[in-house]
Symmetry: C2
């Protein structure tokens, strides 16, 4: 069951200067390690490589919501979103793991309260 | 191939007062109809029901990025994110379709430029 939404947080960031963005195995490892760092539980991981030397679209569905990545190797860019619910979930730790795995720098980071956390404001 | 990221837009919204939030078939239909309305292409749809009268976590992976939903039937709440790239993608149309399908009202909407669109600012 998804934790109560009172503590939902959606962390969005673009990563620049990344490597390995066409490597499906690396991206799956990054998603799984990010979930572990965030103390959330992976239900399933789905990855779609667009072809040799092209990008990958991927998502980890979580008991606590999701982590997604979309990559453009030719630009060195990756778009990340990390949506987690529950007081123990650490979205920032997940983002740090993905940035470290891909060697990228975080650009245009947004942290958005969701649902209960937003509705209570 | 994912379109060039220059026109990436991430539309995030919470929906309140929804019905059908535990209905996997309804949620899959909402995701697919949302993609059609946005003029984007579905690669695959992945849904995880948390059990009877509980919520659903779902994502449509797109050639143009993704649409996700997480639902809490007991609260009437659904968390939506629609991330699309390309000049023809219409994220607002997708959100309107999902809100109409679930009978919900849009709360706390955020529209965030991504990647090229963000980096050019």
């Amino acid at each position: 069951m998804i934790p109560a939404p009172a503590t939902g947080l959606h962390l969005i960031a673009d990563l620049a200067g990344c490597h390995g963005l066409g490597d499906v195995s690396l991206i799956e490892a990054a998603l799984r390690e990010a979930a572990a760092a965030a103390h959330v539980h992976v239900l399933s991981v789905h990855l779609h490589p667009f072809g040799p030397e092209q990008g990958v679209t991927g998502v980890a569905l979580l008991a606590e919501s999701h982590i997604s990545i979309h990559s453009w190797p030719e630009e060195g860019l990756a778009a990340i979103d990390i949506f987690v619910c529950g007081p123990l979930a650490d979205a920032e730790a997940a983002l740090d793991v993905i940035a470290a795995r891909l060697g990228g720098t975080i650009r245009h980071r947004h942290a958005i309260p969701r649902l209960g956390a937003a509705l209570a404001r």
